[in-house]
C-alpha cells in the first residue's frame, strides 16, 4: 500500500468510494458535497496573510483545499498582472489593485453575496473611519474598492455593490526602534535621517512603499510640502530623492531591506536601531526577548490595506467556493488570528468572538493587558500591564497621514528609485 498522503488516506478513499456509490444512486446534492472536497483554490499574496494555519482551517471548516503561495509585493504585482491563470484568489494590497485592475485579470464581487458586508469598517466603504474623520492622502482603499458593475474597468467614487477587493487585513505602519539602544524618546519621522543614527538606520527597498516613508520624513523635516504624498509631481520626487541620496552617501543607512525576515534580522542583531518596519516584524523581534517599539509619531501613520480579489477566470463551483471562502474569512476566525498578531480585521466585531477579553482589550481597545498576551503561535508578546504601542484601533487608524499608493508618475519614480539604490 502506498504511503498515506494528505487527503488521500485509506479512510478518505473508502469515504470517497462510498460517496461515489452514493452519488450514482442519489444524484445532485451528494455529488456536490463530494466535489467541494476536490476543489482546489490557488491563493497567492504577500507573506502577511498567506498563512498555512488559514489553509488548514479552511480545509476543516469549508472542506476544500486552499493552496498558498507567499511572495514579496513586487512579485505579487507582477504575477497578478502577467499570469492570470496561475491563481484563483489574489491576496493583494489596494495600491497593487490600482495597478492590476486595468489588466482585467480580476473580477468584481457582488457585495450582496457577502454576509458581513454591512459590518465592514468604514475605511473600505465610504473612506471614513468615523463619520467625521478626514480621508488621508495616497491610494485610500475606498477609491479603488468599487467598480460600476461586474465588468467595470474604472473605479467608482462610491459604494456600488461591486467590490474589487474584499478587505481582509490592514494596519497603520510607522518606524520601529530599539529603545534600549536609542535611550531617548523618538517622536518624529525626522529621526530617521538624524545624524545621531548614522549607519544605524534603514528603510525598505520596495519603491512604492519606501517613497511614502521618505515623504513622511521630508515633510516632517519641513523640507518639502507635498500636494499629495500619494501622487507626487516629478519635482517632488526629485527633491525627495535628493535628500535621501545625500543621506545615503553620508552613510546614514546600514542596509535596505526587502523582505520581512531581513527587517527582523537587522533590528534583532542591532545592525539598525531605527527603520521602517511592519508590525509583525516588531512582534518577531520582541518574541526573541529583544526590546523593540513600534513608535507612534506625531506626524501620523503610513497605512496599508489588503484584500482578496478573484481571478476573472473563476466561475461555477469554484466561484461559489471562493465566495464561501470570503464569507468565512470575514466571519471572525481569521480576523481573530490576524488581530492577535497586531493587524486589524475588516470586520472587527466578528473577530471579537475569537479573542479573549484581554486580547480584545489589548489589541483593539488599547487597554492595559490584564494577563500575558501571546501570539497565535504561542510566543509571548506582552506582559500584563503593558499597553499596545499607539493605543486603540481608533487612535491608530484615526491618525493615518497617508495610504500606500501608486502614483501617476510611477515609472519616473521607479527609475529615480533605481538611481537612489545605485547611488
Amino acid at each position: 500500500m502506498a504511503k498515506p498522503k494528505v487527503g488521500y488516506t485509506r479512510r478518505s478513499l473508502l469515504k470517497a468510494g462510498g460517496a461515489a456509490v452514493a452519488a450514482t444512486t442519489l444524484p445532485a446534492p451528494m455529488l456536490w458535497a463530494q466535489d467541494t472536497k476536490d476543489i482546489v483554490l490557488r491563493q497567492f499574496g504577500t507573506g502577511v496573510s498567506n498563512l498555512n494555519d488559514v489553509a488548514k482551517k479552511v480545509k476543516e471548516d469549508l472542506g476544500f483545499t486552499l493552496e498558498m503561495t507567499a511572495l514579496d509585493s513586487d512579485s505579487v504585482t507582477q504575477r497578478a498582472a502577467t499570469q492570470p491563470d496561475s491563481f484563483d484568489i489574489a491576496d493583494i494590497e489596494y495600491w497593487i489593485c490600482k495597478k492590476v485592475w486595468p489588466t482585467g485579470n480580476l473580477q468584481a464581487m457582488d457585495t450582496s453575496k457577502i454576509a458581513n458586508y454591512d459590518k465592514i469598517v468604514g475605511i473600505f466603504r465610504s473612506g471614513k473611519l468615523t463619520p467625521d474623520s478626514e480621508i488621508a492622502q495616497g491610494t485610500a482603499p475606498h477609491t479603488v474598492g468599487f467598480v460600476d458593475g461586474p465588468g467595470g474597468t474604472s473605479f467608482a467614487d462610491e459604494e456600488t455593490g461591486w467590490m474589487t477587493l474584499i478587505p481582509t487585513i490592514y494596519n497603520a505602519d510607522t518606524l520601529g526602534i530599539r529603545p534600549d539602544l536609542i535611550g531617548r524618546p523618538i517622536e518624529s519621522w525626522t529621526e530617521l535621517l538624524n545624524p545621531e543614527f548614522k549607519g544605524k538606520a534603514s528603510i525598505l527597498d520596495i519603491s512604492s512603499i519606501g517613497i511614502m516613508d521618505m515623504a513622511m520624513v521630508c515633510e516632517a523635516m519641513g523640507e518639502i510640502q507635498y500636494g499629495d504624498k500619494g501622487n507626487m509631481t516629478r519635482d517632488e520626487i526629485d527633491k525627495t530623492m535628493a535628500i535621501f541620496t545625500e543621506a545615503k552617501q553620508n552613510g546614514q543607512f546600514r542596509a535596505f531591506w526587502k523582505t520581512f525576515d531581513e527587517s527582523v534580522n537587522l533590528m534583532a542583531s542591532g545592525e539598525v536601531v531605527i527603520q521602517s518596519m511592519w508590525s509583525p516584524a516588531i512582534t518577531a523581534v520582541k518574541s526573541r526577548g529583544i526590546p523593540c517599539v513600534y513608535q507612534p509619531l506625531k506626524e501620523g501613520y503610513r497605512s496599508w490595506g489588503g484584500g482578496i480579489g478573484l481571478s476573472s477566470s473563476l466561475s461555477g463551483m469554484e466561484l461559489d467556493a471562493a465566495y464561501d471562502y470570503i464569507n468565512w474569512y470575514l466571519s471572525g476566525w481569521v480576523g481573530g488570528y490576524l488581530m492577535r498578531q497586531g493587524y486589524y480585521s475588516a470586520v472587527p466585531e466578528t473577530s471579537k468572538d475569537f479573542m479573549t477579553e484581554n486580547e480584545w482589550g489589548y489589541w483593539f481597545e488599547g487597554k492595559e493587558a490584564t494577563d500575558v498576551i501571546t501570539s497565535p503561535t504561542g510566543d509571548k508578546l506582552a506582559e500584563a500591564g503593558e499597553i499596545r504601542d499607539g493605543g486603540s484601533f481608533y487612535d491608530r487608524m484615526g491618525s493615518v497621514a497617508c495610504w500606500n499608493a501608486v502614483m501617476d508618475e510611477n515609472q519616473y519614480m521607479v527609475r529615480k528609485w533605481n538611481e537612489f539604490i545605485a547611488a
Binding site: 513586487d74 542596509a255 535596505f256 528609485w417 539604490i421 545605485a422
Partner: protein
Amino acid sequence: MAAIPLKNRHVLGWLMALPLSVVLLAFLIAPIAMIAVVSFWGATEFSIYPAFQFDNYEFLFGSPVTYKVFGATLKYALITWALTLAIGFTVAYFLAFHVRSLTMQIALFLVCTIPFWTSNIIRMISWIPFLGRNGIANQTLISWGVIDEPLEWLLYSDFSVILAFVHLYTLFMVVPIFNTMMRIDKSLLEAARDNGASGFQTLVHVILPLTKPGIMIGTIFVVTLVMGDFITVRFMSGSQRANVGRLISNDIALLQYPSAAATAVVLLCTVLIVIAILLRFVNIRKEL
C-alpha cells in the same frame, strides 16, 4: 532503409548535427533573440506592447547610473577574478605538485567541494551574522583588543560583497587549473630542474604557460558568474550597492521587461567582449 540520400556524406553529417542544432536553437538562440526583440518594445505600468523604438537604450545610455553600475560590476569582476586566481592557483598547485599520492589528491580535492554540498544562498547568508556589527568577527577582534569599536565596513560594503564572491567562486578557478596541472608531463619539470631552473623559474616559465588554458577557463567561469550575479550583491551589500544584475532584477520586479531586456542585451555584449578579449590571449580549443 538504405535510402540514396544517406549515402551522401554531407546529408548524413547535417543529420547528425541536427539534434544538437535544434537544442541550441530552441534553448539558446531563440531566448536570446526574444530578449533582443523585447528590448525594443515599449512598456506601460502593467503591460508591454510590441514596438520598434530605441527608448530603452536611449534611457540606458543617457543615464549616468548605467555607467556607474557597469563600472561597479566590472570592478567586482576584476577584484574577484584576481583574488580567486591567486587562491585558486595556489590551491591547485598544492594539490597537483605537493600532494604525491593520487588517493590523497582526490581526497583533498573532494574536501574542496564540501562547501558546495549546501546551497550558495546559505553559504552567502551565513557570512552575515559572522561579519555583523555584533557578529563573531567583531566580537573576537574586540576581545583580543585589536580594535575598540566594531568595524562597520565588514558587512554591507564592497568588502563583504567581494568576500562572498571569492568564497562562492574560488572552486570554479581551482577545478580547471587543477585539471590542466595534472596533465603537465612531470618529465618537463624534471628537465627544468636538470637544466638548473629554480623552483620559481620552473613555476613561471614551465607551469604557468602550461596552465594558461585552465586559468582561462576558470577566468571565464568567474567573470561571467560575477557579472551576471544579482543576489549576492543584494544580500551582502544590504541593497546598498548595485550591479547590472540588480538593475535588471529591479526592472523585472517592476514589470519593466523591455527595459530589463535592453540592459540584459548590453550586459551580454559586455560579457562577450570581455571573453573575446580573454580568448585573444589563449587558444583554449587547442588545449582541450
